[in-house]
């Protein structure tokens, strides 16, 4: 299976060249890839049907603390998803080649859609928790590229970002959930976890894991209130939306929950959270579908409704629910794929998808109509199509709901009424009725664009009429996988007169009635409120959140990153004072065992001289040269202090450096006019407090450290080794050029580079384009800069 996925990725990456090679026929050539994969997966079908599973594993990272395998697990569930992904994928590649024929970006489409397919296949086939996440993220990434395919339109870009962020945050939550699951159970393979459900369910982290996994699944599967990204994603070209939103990406969440059902499911929390969200989503979105006139929007919300249904079924967790889930997923993939593709074909041929601007296309696009009609009938749950079987079982499962079955079935019926109406809208409005002038002159879509929908629609009929084609071979393994135990059932079109059938009739009737009043309903005030509440609400929430975040970001940047260096410095200083001072006082404590007793007179004089000079420096802040003189006195005094403690080299260096420093500062000051200090008293006091604090801290730290017993063993070694081994009598110099010569080398490099730096700073021409008004060196006060240059 790794080979298949890798092959898909590789072919995806080279697809632009394949496209170049085969030109118009490239769609057919590239469709061989998903089709081949489909056949490969299908070849496992007998094996799976026989109740076996397939496991393959290649170690990716294999370390004591870190084990990630590229492990794959093929059972009924993953096989069905794999078949859907590759099967519909085949049609999508073909469809895309027609839809985007002549588009400059067609090769990029191939590349992205195949990458997406590979990722999606990876998600459903992966066994290792981490590799599930890997592929999961890859689907987020590739879908981002696909949704933003028409990137020159603003709304496309926005939709792509929305999808990426929403599914991205879910993905990250999922990662945390998966890792926690791994830690909780000690297993990193789903196949192993399937038998360890109890460990997880009884683990203290169960709730956290559950919520994190659900966050991943719900965002991906567009459960309310995260559903808002999906309709927006319809900005993508139809091949993309058809693929992503009928068969694949949005179903990743469904897949994940189905996969995790044996591990995380069958608890009350699961039932309430998963079932509840599913139910809420299916109810809300079904009716939202009716508030739009864009075929793809209608289909998008009906998709959300279908996803809600699937999630709800997983939440219910009963055998009937599992059976329903299996059938519903398959049937939905077929009819929704077909409908999306037809919607795209209509858009492609007629130039619009707005059902109000369409009508009477049937004679012009007969095949598309046929496909659409069959698919819509399936979606509406009308016999003998497969969708009918699915809906029947869903109703049955709802009736058997472990909690509040009446509520569940009522809501399910109400939602399905809207879906029936929606099915009618997407077929009757564009294809039947009066011919309407469309932006483009409509005619039948090319073969590549109708073959997929038609086959899918026909399969819907086929499976409906002859359900045994898939039930034993696929549906039972699927349901068993999700249920976590072997199941056995038959599917049939006719269930006898029972409550579900009655409810189906009720649904159908209701749906037709709603369809008839749709135009008025759509325009009615409650519907507007409903739409703005449930469709726009989450979007506004998202956008508000984003705006809030950006606002916060802007605010914090303006506040703390305000460009004033003194503010940066004061922040740093206060941080240092607080961090070091607090630690010092609380952890170490002050040390004070010092006296001034044995100080000599000249030492007092030097100290007073230093303090006086500091006073001069502070007092003459508006006379820079006086400050320089003060600093010079400090430097000379320090040299004397060094000297009086046996440091002749140091004193010499200090004297020399101090003198040269004075010269350099003076040379610079010749050119730079002075600046009268203007700061508020408040900030001066603040600065003074910080400065005094820092000074006191430094003093106390030195005193505390000098109270620690000291061992000058290194210097004693130097004293012994200096002459006999290093042939030098000046130990300081021997340290500099021998014992610690590397320091000196670094230091000389600093000096050397400083020389180069000053040279470059002063001598180098300034860069800047002549059209940059700033480059003329215009000074705020004009004169200042002239002064600088004149001297």
């Amino acid at each position: 299976m790794l080979t298949v996925i890798a092959l898909i990725f590789i072919v995806a990456l080279v697809s632009p060249w394949i496209h170049k090679l085969f030109g118009n026929k490239s769609g057919w050539v590239l469709a061989l890839l998903p089709f081949g994969s489909f056949l490969y997966l299908a070849s496992w079908l007998p094996h799976i049907t026989a109740g076996n599973v397939v496991q393959q594993s290649t170690p990716w990272v294999s370390m004591a603390l870190f084990q990630v395998d590229l492990a794959f697990y093929l059972d009924g569930l993953s096989l069905m998803f794999g078949l859907i992904i590759t099967g519909i994928g085949t049609f999508i590649v073909l469809y895309g080649s027609g839809y985007l024929s002549g588009d400059a970006y067609l090769s990029r489409f191939y590349c992205a859609v195949l990458l997406f397919m590979g990722s999606m296949l990876g998600v459903v086939l992966a066994d290792n928790l981490i590799s599930i996440f890997v592929f999961w993220e890859l689907t987020s990434f590739t879908s981002f590229i696909l949704i933003g395919f028409s990137h020159e339109q603003e709304n496309s870009r926005k939709a792509a970002l929305k999808a990426l962020l929403v599914t991205g945050i879910g993905g990250l939550a999922l990662l945390a959930g998966l890792v926690l699951m791994g830690f909780a159970s000690g297993h990193w393979e789903v196949s192993a976890l399937l038998n360890e459900g109890d460990i997880i369910r009884n683990h203290p982290h169960y709730l956290a894991i559950l919520i994190l996994v659900l966050a991943g699944a719900f965002t991906k599967s567009a459960q309310f209130p995260f559903s808002f990204w999906l309709p927006g994603a319809m900005a993508a070209p139809t091949p993309v939306s058809a693929y992503l939103h009928s068969a694949t990406m949005v179903k990743a969440g469904v897949y994940l929950l189905a996969r995790m059902n044996p591990v995380l499911g069958s608890t009350e929390t699961w039932l309430i959270l998963v079932g509840g969200f599913g139910l809420l989503t299916l109810l809300v979105s079904a009716w939202l579908a009716l508030s739009f006139t864009d075929m793809k929007q209608i289909l998008a919300y009906s998709t959300v409704m279908a996803l809600g249904t699937m999630i709800m079924l997983i939440g219910l967790g009963t055998e009937m629910a599992m059976k329903g889930l299996a059938v519903y997923i398959l049937s939905h993939a077929m009819y929704k794929g077909a409908l999306f593709m037809v919607a795209g074909a209509v858009d492609h041929e007629a130039g619009t998808r707005d059902v109000l601007k369409l009508g009477g296309l049937r004679p012009l696009m007969p095949i598309s109509f046929a496909a659409a009609a069959l698919a819509a009938i399936s979606m509406a749950g009308i016999p003998p199509l497969y969708g009918f079987i699915a809906k029947e079982i869903v109703y049955e499962a709802a009736l058997e709901a472990p909690l509040w079955p009446v509520l569940v079935i009522t809501l399910a019926v109400i939602a399905n009424i809207a879906i029936v109406a929606a099915s009618a809208i997407v077929v009757i409005r564009p294809f039947l009725g009066k011919k309407v002038e469309t932006p483009k002159k409509a005619h039948e879509a090319p073969l590549t664009m109708w073959i997929g929908p038609l086959i899918l629609a026909v399969l819907g009929v086929l499976f409906g009429v002859l359900p045994f084609l898939v039930d034993r071979s696929l549906m039972i393994p699927v349901a068993s996988s999700v249920f976590g135990a072997p199941m056995d059932f038959y599917l049939s079109l006719w269930h006898g007169f029972n409550l579900p059938l009655v409810l189906s009739l009720l649904t159908l009737t209701g749906g037709i009635l709603v369809y008839l009043v749709w135009d008025r309903l759509r325009e009615s005030a409650p519907m507007k409120v409903y739409q703005s509440g449930f469709a726009m609400g989450p979007i506004n929430g998202y956008e508000g959140l984003l705006a809030g975040l950006l606002g916060l970001a802007g605010w914090q940047t303006r506040t703390i990153q305000n460009g004033l260096m003194s503010n940066y410095l004061i922040t740093i200083l206060v941080t240092m004072l607080v961090a070091v001072g607090y630690t010092f006082i609380t952890r170490s404590g002050l040390v004070w065992n010092h006296s001034f007793e044995n100080m000599l007179l000249q030492e007092w004089a030097l100290s007073i001289a230093i303090l006086t000079s500091l006073g001069i420096i502070l007092a003459f802040r508006n006379s820079r040269l006086t400050m320089v003189i003060g600093a010079g006195v400090v430097g000379f005094s320090l040299a004397l202090i060094y000297l009086m403690h046996g440091a002749a080299d140091l004193a010499m260096t200090q004297v020399l450096v101090e003198t040269l420093t004075v010269i350099l500062v003076v040379l610079v000051l010749i050119h730079v006019p002075k600046l009268i200090e203007v700061r508020s008293t408040t900030s001066r006091i603040r600065d003074a407090v910080v400065a005094v604090g820092a000074g006191v801290l430094m003093t106390l730290l030195i005193l505390a450290v000098t109270a620690v017993p000291f061992d000058a063993f290194i210097s004693e070694y130097y004293a012994e080794a200096s002459y006999p081994l290093a042939h030098g009598r000046n130990i300081v110099n021997v340290i500099l050029v021998d014992f610690r010569a590397l320091d000196t080398m670094g230091e000389v490099v600093v000096v050397a580079i400083a020389g180069l730096a000053v040279y470059a700073l002063i001598k180098m021409k300034r860069f800047g384009s002549p059209d940059d008004p700033e480059t003329e060196g215009a000074a705020p006060d004009g004169t200042a800069s002239k002064q600088g240059k004149s001297s």
Partner: protein, 133 residues
């Protein structure tokens, strides 16, 4: 002296910090000079003080006269002084050049974060002849 030196170091440090926060870059630089001096002094007193013999070996002997002043901090401070001097020269030149280009040494005026940086950074490269290559 081993009490007054830490106090002096702290005082010089405090003065340096206060100057560091002034608006004029020149004052900032003088602040850096003082801070640098204070840290050197701190290092000096942390190597423990001695009013004894310098760490020099007289001709004819193999070791300095004990007790001798700790030579290691001296060497370290020497290194630090020279490094500090190099950096100071750079800072001065930078302040000077900034003044020439920006017309002021007022931090608050000239240090507002720059916004569009594109034009000034990269010289116009003529691609036709391969530019600067």
């Amino acid at each position: 002296m081993d009490t007054i030196l830490p106090i002096l170091a702290g005082t010089i440090f405090a003065t340096g910090i206060y100057l560091l926060l002034r608006r004029s870059l020149i004052l900032t630089i003088i602040g850096i000079i003082l801070i640098s001096n204070s840290v050197n002094l701190a290092l000096f007193s942390l190597g423990r003080l001695s009013t004894e013999n310098p760490p020099l070996i007289k001709a004819g002997s193999l070791e300095p006269l004990a007790p001798f002043a700790n030579p290691l901090p001296q060497a370290l401070i020497l290194t630090a002084i020279v490094i500090g001097f190099g950096l100071l020269a750079f800072a001065l030149a930078l302040a000077y050049r900034s003044y020439r280009e920006l017309g002021t040494v007022d931090q608050d005026e000239l240090l507002k974060d720059a916004e569009d940086t594109s034009a000034a950074i990269v010289p116009k490269n003529d691609f036709k002849d391969g530019g600067d290559v």
